[in-house]
């Protein structure tokens, strides 16, 4: 039995990039979609119908979803048929397939608002849509064929008055059967000829043909709102040449303003823009960002009716564009506001993608030196198969780096890259790469992985597994006065290590850090760029050292011995004090 909860579905979620990580964004309210109105307020207007029909369909849809359709039934009869068609475009399609039940649910809501609306709204849908909705569920039989049927089959069929046409609802789904019962009851009462015509027509049409036609019409309409095809959506993530943009905009000296503030760079830019721009300009910039977010939906596997994910896509667009602005304007807020006004959001988005891609590309190349199987991940990423790449990271990196660093690496290589923000209830919460600081964190994450690989490679270990344990064992070796080498401890050595006084232990740790620093300075295969400060990296080593101190102080030797026992070649239980 096929299951939705399969590995394949997980790959799909990874591939979209918006849903598989816990993450939070802190964006100014002005950047978010504010396109909802109080529909009940509109109802109280004298020209309520006109006011409602003047709403853009997305605004009407979002407002209905926010306030609940069943609480806004009086609105439904007032909306235009174009608005209803657009709402079905947003809400009644999944993966390019028509969700018949969704349409029936909408039509039932219309019936609840005004009985005859189930008929009029259905009748005014495009002809292809009417047939696509009825065709799969109705079997129509003309009187001549009816006579050829067995008694049992005849009994199953319903009849139009006078036996002009016979039909049956083919679905066993009670909701669908109820829809056709309600629809036909009202339609027969309003327009018998139409009722017969639609059933006869739909019953004799080849299956799926009309739905395929409708999908084409719908795609064309959706592109007007920015919901482009999958291929076009993927192309937005491509890197671009930054030379022309650099020449045009990167003219300022780097300022430190953004780094010293608690607000994100985009918050500062938007705050300045909202004070100095007129409203139409601000609205234009916002709507262009919303349009771009819509364009990313196909690649991010977000349906237009999934409002929460649409908002997340928009948050990512603003965040990544914040990074691009900070880089292009060298941290100068006024310059950034000017760039925001003049450059298209897609250009900014691709600038950010290019900056990040540069780091990711370097990182992967370096990882491949230590872990050759990384080439498969690189291939997946080059083809924008983020889901497969991340699944491969789970398999390959999980046992090497442990779950936390692997999660962070997966977030770095997500369609929408993210960096660790904090931990919540034992789970990592990420944040979008919205600034140069965040870009540094992304680099730190890659370099932490590379640095651990580098250190372990210096201990001449044959198998890359559980790097943290191997580094910790090598650290103990140094603390005991030996080299940074990964060997098993003897009981005597454990006893000596355990009984080290505070002063001796502090001294040993200082020696350890200076030794590691020297090793990392000498061989810089872990470094992705020159002149990088290694504070973040040394702090990840400090975490490992702190773990050791905890083991030592608390006497949790099980943890240490478990680590040791998990390493192969256990017969070689010697420890060379000075090799």
């Amino acid at each position: 039995m096929a299951s939705r909860l399969s590995e394949e579905s997980l790959v799909r979620v990874y591939d979209g990039g918006l849903q598989a990580f816990r993450w939070e964004a802190h964006l100014p309210a002005l950047t978010l979609r504010a396109e909802t109105v109080d529909l009940l307020d509109l109802l109280s207007l004298e020209k309520a119908k006109e006011a409602i029909q003047n709403l853009p369909p997305q605004v009407l849809f979002r407002s209905l979803m926010k306030q609940g359709v069943s609480d806004c039934l009086d609105i439904l009869p007032l909306m235009s048929q174009e608005q209803f068609t657009a709402i079905l475009d947003y809400d009644a399609w999944t993966d390019g397939e028509l969700q018949h039940r969704k349409v029936f649910q909408w039509l039932q809501q219309f019936r609840e608002a005004e009985r005859e609306q189930i008929y009029t709204r259905f009748r005014d849908l495009e002809e292809e849509m009417q047939i696509a909705l009825v065709g799969p569920f109705i079997r129509a039989v003309d009187p001549e064929d009816f006579e050829q049927l067995s008694d049992e089959e005849q009994d199953r069929l319903e009849s139009f008055p006078g036996g002009a046409l016979y039909y049956e609802v083919k679905s066993e789904d009670p909701e669908i059967r109820q829809f056709f019962a309600d629809f036909l009851e009202v339609t027969m009462g309003e327009n018998m000829e139409y009722a017969m015509s639609v059933l006869a027509h739909a019953g004799f049409m080849p299956p799926n043909e009309q739905e395929a036609l409708m999908a084409q019409f719908r795609n064309a309409r959706m592109e007007d709102d920015g919901f482009v095809s999958y291929e076009e959506s993927l192309s937005i993530f491509h890197s671009i040449s930054l030379n022309a943009l650099e020449k045009k905009w990167r003219t300022h000296e780097k300022t430190a303003l953004s780094c010293g503030s608690n607000d994100s760079f985009m918050q500062l830019v938007i705050s300045l823009a909202s004070q100095s721009w007129d409203k139409p300009t601000l609205d234009e910039v916002r709507s262009r960002h919303a349009y771009l977010a819509n364009a990313l939906c196909s690649a991010a596997r977000v349906e237009p009716g999934d409002l929460e994910s649409l908002d997340k896509a928009l948050e990512q667009v603003w965040s990544l564009n914040g990074l691009a602005l900070e880089w292009l304007a060298s941290g100068n807020i006024e310059q950034a506001a000017l760039i925001l006004k003049e450059e298209h959001p897609k250009t900014l988005f691709q600038t950010a993608c290019t900056l990040i891609e540069g780091l990711r590309h370097k990182g992967l190349k370096q990882l491949e030196i230590f872990i050759p199987e990384t080439s498969l991940i690189r291939t997946h990423l080059e083809l924008q198969k983020f889901g497969l790449a991340q699944k491969q990271m789970d398999i390959l990196y999980g046992k090497i780096f442990g779950s936390e660093l692997t999660e962070s690496l997966k977030a770095v290589f997500s369609r929408f890259p993210m960096v660790k923000s904090h931990a919540l209830e034992g789970k990592i919460v990420f944040r979008p790469v919205d600034s140069l600081n965040a870009l540094d964190s992304l680099q730190d994450c890659l370099e932490t992985a590379l640095m651990k690989l580098q250190l372990v490679s210096m201990t001449h270990v044959e198998e890359l597994i559980d790097l943290d344990a191997q580094i910790q064992r090598s650290m103990v070796s140094v603390q005991l006065g030996g080299h940074f080498i990964n060997r098993f401890l003897t009981q005597t050595q454990v006893d000596i290590w355990r009984s080290m006084g505070e002063e001796a232990y502090t001294e040993a740790n200082e020696k350890l850090y200076s030794g590691l620093d020297a090793m990392l300075t000498k061989d810089r295969r872990w470094a992705l760029s020159e002149n990088r400060k290694t504070d973040a990296l040394m702090s990840s080593l400090s975490e490992l050292a702190a773990g050791l101190t905890f083991i030592k102080d608390q006497g949790h030797f099980d943890a240490l011995f478990n680590l040791i026992e998990s390493i192969p070649n256990q017969e070689d239980n010697s420890y060379a004090q000075d090799e």
Binding site: R4, L5, S9, L10, F21, M65, E172, E308, S309
Partner: protein
């Protein structure tokens, strides 16, 4: 999920399914997480998927039961069907700004041609526990307020 020939879901499979559920909805979970409990006998399968946080101030058990034998399903397939439907439900729940609710008492549903029953109710077990302690005279009003802070 791992393929086995067993008629029942194994503990490792349940753990894997829980991981997938957590992953699929990660961005919407906040401080909450899923747990899954599966029981079955020869004729029926019972599934509880609980969305909760560590303090249990949000505790949402969604329970499902299906008559497998009469619908020619193995207990494992019955449990998987319930889990699939509950996954669909949570998808709706998160997409609908967490405003799609199930009946609090058993109610019939139909999915992929099979019939089963579901129920679910959001509880705040943390406040319930504090209320019990308060009624037993073990804590006072200030302690409740401080615990809820």
């Amino acid at each position: 999920m791992p393929k086995t020939n067993n008629e029942k879901l194994m503990a490792s499979e349940v753990a894997e399914l829980t991981h997938i559920l957590d992953r699929k909805h990660a961005a919407s979970l906040g401080d909450r997480f899923f747990s899954i409990k599966v029981d079955s006998d020869a004729s029926n399968a019972f599934v509880t998927v609980t969305l909760r946080n560590a303090h249990e101030s949000f505790f949402y058990p969604v329970e499902g039961r299906i008559a497998c034998k009469s619908q020619e399903l193995s207990p494992k397939d019955g449990a998987m069907l319930l889990l699939d439907f509950i996954d669909v439900y949570f998808e709706e729940f998160f997409h609908d700004r967490q405003d799609t609710w199930l009946p609090i008492d058993w109610a019939g549903f139909n999915f992929e041609g099979f019939e089963f029953e579901l129920k679910g109710q959001v509880l705040n077990k943390r406040t319930e526990e504090l209320a019990d302690l308060f009624l037993d005279g073990k804590i006072n009003r200030d302690e409740i307020l401080s615990a809820l802070r």
